[in-house]
C-alpha cells in the first residue's frame, strides 16, 4: 500500500514558510532518514540526479534547487505504466490555472510535489516514502519538460552513504588588517569563524571585500601513497601547509597571474590541511588543487561559477515561430514550437522539415547575448522525420523545384510553397499520440496530375489520409485538394 502525504498537507507545510530558504520542517520531521538535494542541469532539461534511493516508509527531506533560467518543479508519481504521460497530459489541461497550481494536476497519481521555482530559488518538501518497494517515477511537469526531465526514486533497502567532500571538517577564521605579506595569524584575533560544509575553499561566504585575511583548516583523504603536487594561485597572498609543513606559497600583493606548484610525498589516508590567505584591495582569488603524480587534479577550492546563460523561449498555449540560426541546422531554419512540447526545424531553403525535438523550445542566448547571431540550441532530444527534401515529387518520383513563399502562424503554423507552379500550403501539427508530426498539404487548386509524397521511412511509423505508405512513398492522385501524413518516430525519447 502506498503511503503518501496528501497534497493539501504539503501545501500547508510549505505555506507555513515565508522565505523559501528558511523553511522549517513540520512536526515529526525534525530528524529525517534521507536528506536529498536535487538540482537541475541548466539548459539541458534534466535533473542532476536521475536515480534516487530511499528506504520504504522512511522520512525524506527533499530540496529542489533550481540554477536554471527556466522554471522547474519536482513531482513524484505512483508506479505504473503510462503514469508520467497521464500526469503530463493532465498538466497541459490545467490551462490558465497551471501556474498557480505550480503545474501539478489534482490526480491520485501524484504522490508529492514541490512548488514550481524560478532561477536561484529552491523548495523543500518533507514526506514519508512509499512503503511498497519499487521504482517510482519523478518528473518536472512544466510544459514540454517531462520528455527528458525525469528520474526514478527506488524504494527499497538502502544504506545511507556518507557524502564525500574534498576537505573534511573545513573551518575558517577571518581576520582584519592591511598587510603586504601574510602575517602571523596565530598572534591575531579572528573577527569571525565558521564552517564550509561543502568541503571546498571558498572566499564568497567569508563576506569580506578588502583588507582581510583567513585561515582555513581541515583534512584531506589521500587515495594513494606517493608523490603529490599542489597547485596554488591567489590574489593576494597565500600559502598551504600539509601536516604543518609548508608545501606551496604565493605570498605578497599581486593578481592571480601565475600558478605556483609544490611537491610533497604523501601516504594514503587523512592529512591535515591548513591554508592561509590575505587580501588587500581589488580582486580576490584563492584557487587550490592537488594531484597524485600523473593523476587528475582534485579541486580543493571553488568559486561561484558564471552560470551558463540560458535564454529560453517558452511555448504555452499558442505556437511560436522563430527564424534564427539553430545548431546543426540550415542557415534558413524556421524553428516552430507547438503547444505540448513538440517542436520542429523547417528549412526554408529546401522547403523541408529537417528534424523534430520534444521538450521545451529554444535557448536563444547565442542570438541575444553580445553580438548575437550565433546558432541557438534546441532544448530537448531531436528525432528524425525522414528529411529528404521537399516531400512532394512528380508521379514518377522526380523532384521539381520548390520555392519558399512565406508562412502564417495562427491557428497552425503553415508554410506557403510554390512547387513549380503549384501553390502548396503545408501545415504541421503535433501527432495526436507519441512523438511525431502531422503534415497537412492543401493545394491552391485540385491537383491536375498525380503526384507522389516521398519521405525516408527509416525508423518511422507512417500513415496517411490516403492509405498506407509503401516504404515512405505515397501516391497522391490527381484531383486531390488536401491530404495528411502522420510521421511518428517510435524510437524517440519516451
Amino acid at each position: 500500500m502506498v503511503c503518501r502525504v496528501p497534497h493539501s498537507h504539503i501545501f500547508f507545510y510549505a505555506a507555513l514558510c515565508v522565505p523559501l530558504w528558511a523553511q522549517a520542517p513540520p512536526a515529526g520531521f525534525e530528524q529525517v532518514d534521507h536528506e536529498i538535494e536535487l538540482g537541475v542541469l541548466p539548459g539541458q532539461l534534466r535533473f542532476d540526479q536521475e536515480r534516487l534511493a530511499v528506504a520504504p516508509g522512511s522520512k525524506v527531506k527533499l530540496t529542489l534547487v533550481n540554477t536554471d533560467s527556466m522554471q522547474h518543479n519536482f513531482v513524484l508519481c505512483r508506479r505504473g505504466e503510462g503514469v508520467v504521460a497521464k500526469v503530463a497530459d493532465a498538466t497541459l489541461r490545467l490551462g490558465a490555472q497551471a501556474s498557480e497550481k505550480h503545474y501539478v494536476p489534482d490526480l491520485d497519481d501524484v504522490l508529492v510535489s514541490t512548488k514550481a521555482v524560478f532561477l536561484d530559488q529552491q523548495d523543500t518538501i518533507w514526506f514519508v516514502a512509499p512503503t511498497t518497494d519499487g521504482d517510482y517515477p519523478y518528473v518536472c511537469t512544466l510544459p514540454g519538460h517531462a520528455y527528458t526531465m525525469k528520474g526514478i526514486l527506488r524504494v527499497g533497502a538502502v544504506s545511507v552513504a556518507r557524502r564525500e567532500v574534498p576537505i573534511d571538517n573545513l573551518r575558517y577564521r577571518v581576520f582584519r588588517g592591511k598587510w603586504q605579506r601574510l602575517p602571523d595569524f596565530e598572534a591575531l584575533s579572528p573577527v569571525r569563524e565558521g564552517e564550509l560544509e561543502g568541503g571546498m575553499l571558498e572566499l564568497g561566504p567569508l563576506g569580506e571585500n578588502q583588507d582581510f585575511g583567513a585561515v582555513f583548516t581541515g583534512s584531506i583523504e589521500v587515495k594513494e601513497s606517493g608523490a603529490h603536487t599542489f597547485f596554488l594561485n591567489s590574489d593576494d597572498g597565500s600559502r598551504v601547509f600539509v601536516d604543518d609543513r609548508e608545501v606551496v606559497a604565493y605570498d605578497g600583493v599581486h593578481p592571480a597571474s601565475k600558478e605556483q606548484r609544490g611537491d610533497v610525498e604523501l601516504t594514503a589516508g587523512a592529512h591535515q590541511l591548513r591554508v592561509e590567505f590575505f587580501q588587500g584591495g581589488g580582486g580576490q582569488v584563492l584557487d587550490l588543487a592537488y594531484a597524485a603524480a600523473g593523476g587528475p587534479r582534485r579541486a580543493l577550492s571553488t568559486k561561484k561559477r558564471a552560470r551558463p546563460r540560458v535564454t529560453p523561449i517558452s511555448v504555452h498555449h499558442h505556437p511560436v515561430v522563430m527564424r534564427v540560426h539553430v545548431e546543426r541546422a540550415s542557415a534558413r531554419t524556421v524553428a516552430v514550437g507547438l503547444p505540448g512540447g513538440m517542436n520542429y526545424a523547417f528549412d526554408a531553403a529546401r522547403c523541408s522539415v529537417q528534424f523534430g525535438w520534444a521538450g521545451a523550445f529554444l535557448d536563444v542566448s547565442p542570438d541575444r547575448d553580445g553580438r548575437g547571431g550565433r546558432p541557438c540550441k534546441t532544448l530537448g532530444p531531436r528525432f528524425a522525420v525522414g528529411d529528404s527534401g521537399f516531400p512532394l515529387r512528380a508521379a514518377d518520383g522526380a523532384s521539381k523545384p520548390a520555392r519558399f513563399r512565406g508562412y502564417r502562424v495562427m491557428p497552425t503554423p503553415t508554410f506557403e510553397i510554390d512547387w513549380s507552379g503549384v501553390a502548396v500550403e503545408w501545415a504541421i501539427a503535433p501527432a495526436p499520440e507519441g512523438v511525431g508530426l502531422v503534415y497537412a498539404f492543401t493545394f491552391g487548386a485540385p491537383l491536375a496530375a498525380d503526384v507522389m509524397f516521398v519521405i525516408d521511412a527509416a525508423g518511422l511509423t507512417l500513415s496517411s489520409s490516403l492509405g498506407d505508405l509503401n516504404q515512405g512513398r505515397l501516391e497522391v492522385p490527381a484531383g486531390t485538394k488536401t491530404f495528411t501524413v502522420t510521421v511518428r518516430n517510435p524510437e524517440a525519447v519516451r
Binding site: 498555449h317 499558442h318 553580445g370 548575437g372 550565433r374 512565406g406 506557403e416
Partner: protein, 490 residues
C-alpha cells in the same frame, strides 16, 4: 508569435517621452528626448519607418516589430531574423522588412494591428550562420524597387574561430565572401526579382536616398576600408573591398589575389565623403535626408547620420564637382544614451534615432533605446552650415551672419589635411598629415560665408576648425568640418 504576446498594449496615460540627459554638445535650439520603450523587452533597434498616418513601425535585433501610435506600443510581429531595415510604403501602407535571410512583407490580413502572414518577397542572396552576414536596408525608389546591402562574411579563421567560412579573402584580409553576394548592394524589383547592384562593400550598415535620389550607404572602417565613409552607389560600381568580386561576372574564374592592391585602388569608385575615425565617427549607421521643409531647423537638404560606437549624430553635406561626389561632414549632437544605428524624421520634423549598443561597445549608459532630437521651432543656432570647395580654397557657410570683422581674421581658421591609403589592412593611418596655411579670407557682405584661400590638393581630407563668433556673440557648438576633396573646382 503567440496571440497573447501579440496583444500586448502598453497604454500610458502620460507622454512616452522621458526627460533625457542632454548631450554634451548640441546646437542651440535643439534638445534630446528619450522615448519610453515597451517594458520587459530588449529593444535593440534595427529598423524604423513612419507610416503615412504618423504611426512609427520599428523592428528590433531581437526579431520583433512594434508599432507606436501616440503613446501606445503594440507588438506587430515576432520571430524575424534580425530585421535591420524596415519600410512602410507611404501610398499602400504595406510593411516590408529586410532580415538576414530575405526581404519580407508583413501582412495584417484582418486589420487588427498584428501581422498574420509573412510573405517572402525575395531570398536570393547567400546566407550561412556566420554572425557577420547582416542584411541592411531599406529604401524604395519611385518605381517601387527596393534597395539594401549585404555584409561580408567574417572569414579569417583567427577571428571567425573556424575555417568553415574562409572563402574569398583577398590579400589575406579579414572579411571574405562565403556565399553569394556578400559585400554587394542589391535592387529587388516590385515582383521580387533580385538584381546585384554594386560590389566592394564591407559592412554597409545604413542605406538611404540622397537629396537628388542618389542611392547611398555608409561603410564601416576595417579591412580595405581606411575609415568609415559614405558611398554613392550606381549600378556596376566597385567600392573597394575585393572579396565580393567573386560574384562579378567579369571576374568569374579569376584568382582575385592576382590583382594587385594598387590595381584595386584604381578600379574602385572612391567613397564620396570620409568620416575620420575617432574624430567624427567609428561605426556609422543609417543616414537620413532632412526633407522636413524646415521643421527641423536650418539644415534642410542635408543628411543626418548616427554612429553606433560614439553614440553621436553628425551631418553630411554633398556636392558635386566635375561630376564627382564629395563634401563635408560635421558633428551635430554628442553623445546620446546609446549607439545610434537608425534615423528617421517624423511627420512633425523630429529626428528619431534608433539605438543599440549590445555587443559592440557603444558609449552611453543605455544598452538600447529610442530617442528623438527636437528643434524648438525658432532658434537658429550659429553653426557651420556647410563647407564647399572653391577653385582656390573653401567657402565656409554659416547658418546666420557671423561677426564679419572677426570672420576676416585668418588666424581663426585652422586647417589640417591628410590622406588615407587603400590596402587590405584594418583602417588606414592619416598619411602625409600637415597644417595648411590659410592665406586669405574674404567674408560675404551679409556675413553668411567666409571664403578661405589656401592650397588645395586632390585626394586629401581637410579638417577645418572655425573659431568665429556670430554677430550676437554666439559661439559654434560644432566648430570642425571634415571636407573630402576628390576634385578641385575649376
Amino acid at each position: 508569435m503567440t496571440r497573447a504576446s501579440s496583444l500586448i498594449l502598453c497604454s500610458l496615460s502620460f507622454s512616452c517621452a522621458l526627460s533625457a540627459q542632454q548631450p554634451d554638445v548640441i546646437p542651440d535650439g535643439y534638445r534630446v528626448e528619450t522615448v519610453r520603450t515597451p517594458e520587459g523587452h530588449a529593444f535593440g533597434v534595427g529598423g524604423m519607418s513612419f507610416a503615412a498616418d504618423g504611426t512609427l513601425f520599428l523592428s528590433t535585433r531581437e526579431g520583433q516589430v512594434w508599432t507606436l501610435r501616440g503613446d501606445r506600443w503594440t507588438l506587430f510581429a515576432d520571430g524575424l531574423h534580425e530585421p535591420l531595415g524596415l519600410l512602410v510604403d507611404q501610398k499602400t501602407n504595406q510593411v516590408f522588412c529586410v532580415q538576414r535571410p530575405e526581404l519580407t512583407e508583413l501582412i495584417d490580413d484582418d486589420g487588427d494591428g498584428v501581422a498574420d502572414r509573412f510573405r517572402t518577397v525575395c531570398d536570393a542572396w547567400g546566407l550561412t550562420d556566420n554572425y557577420h552576414e547582416y542584411a541592411y536596408g531599406l529604401v524604395r525608389d519611385e518605381q517601387g524597387n527596393f534597395y539594401g546591402t549585404l555584409n561580408t562574411t567574417l572569414s579569417w579563421p583567427g577571428w571567425a574561430g573556424s575555417d568553415k567560412w574562409d572563402f574569398a579573402r583577398v590579400h589575406d584580409c579579414k572579411m571574405g565572401r562565403a556565399v553569394p553576394y556578400r559585400g554587394w548592394s542589391f535592387r529587388i524589383t516590385p515582383d521580387g526579382v533580385f538584381e546585384p547592384w554594386s560590389s566592394g562593400l564591407r559592412s554597409p550598415a545604413g542605406v538611404a536616398l540622397g537629396p537628388a535620389g542618389e542611392l547611398l550607404c555608409t561603410d564601416n572602417q576595417g579591412d580595405w576600408v581606411a575609415t568609415s565613409c559614405l558611398h554613392v552607389m550606381d549600378r556596376g560600381d566597385f567600392h573597394g573591398h575585393p572579396s565580393s568580386l567573386t560574384d562579378a561576372p567579369e571576374y568569374a574564374g579569376k584568382d582575385l589575389n592576382e590583382i594587385s592592391i594598387e590595381r584595386y585602388g584604381e578600379l574602385r569608385r572612391q567613397p564620396a565623403v570620409w568620416f575620420p575615425h575617432g574624430d567624427l565617427a567609428n561605426s556609422p549607421g543609417e543616414p537620413i535626408l532632412d526633407d522636413t521643409g524646415g521643421r527641423f531647423g536650418p539644415f534642410v537638404g542635408q543628411l543626418f547620420c548616427g554612429d553606433q560606437t560614439r553614440s553621436n549624430v553628425f551631418r553630411i553635406v554633398l556636392e558635386q564637382v566635375d561630376g564627382r561626389y564629395q563634401g563635408c561632414a560635421i558633428n551635430f549632437a554628442d553623445h546620446l544614451q546609446s549607439g545610434v544605428v537608425r534615423a528617421r524624421f517624423s511627420k512633425r520634423g523630429e529626428l528619431w534615432v534608433g539605438q543599440t549598443g549590445r555587443g559592440w561597445g557603444s558609449r552611453g549608459p543605455a544598452k538600447f533605446g529610442l530617442q528623438r532630437v527636437v528643434w524648438d521651432g525658432r532658434t537658429i543656432p550659429f553653426e557651420l552650415s556647410r563647407v564647399a570647395a572653391a577653385k582656390d580654397g573653401f567657402v565656409v557657410h554659416f547658418t546666420r551672419p557671423a561677426d564679419a570683422e572677426r570672420a576676416r581674421e585668418a588666424g581663426r581658421y585652422r586647417v589640417q589635411r591628410w590622406r588615407y591609403k587603400h590596402y587590405p589592412g584594418y583602417g588606414s593611418p592619416k598619411l602625409d598629415r600637415g597644417e595648411v596655411a590659410v592665406e586669405r579670407v574674404s567674408v560675404s557682405s551679409n556675413g553668411r560665408s567666409a571664403r578661405l584661400g589656401l592650397d588645395l590638393t586632390e585626394g586629401f581630407v581637410y579638417q577645418i576648425r572655425v573659431e568665429v563668433p556670430a554677430v550676437d556673440g554666439s559661439t559654434i557648438a560644432n566648430p570642425v568640418a571634415y571636407y573630402t576633396l576628390h576634385a578641385v573646382p575649376r
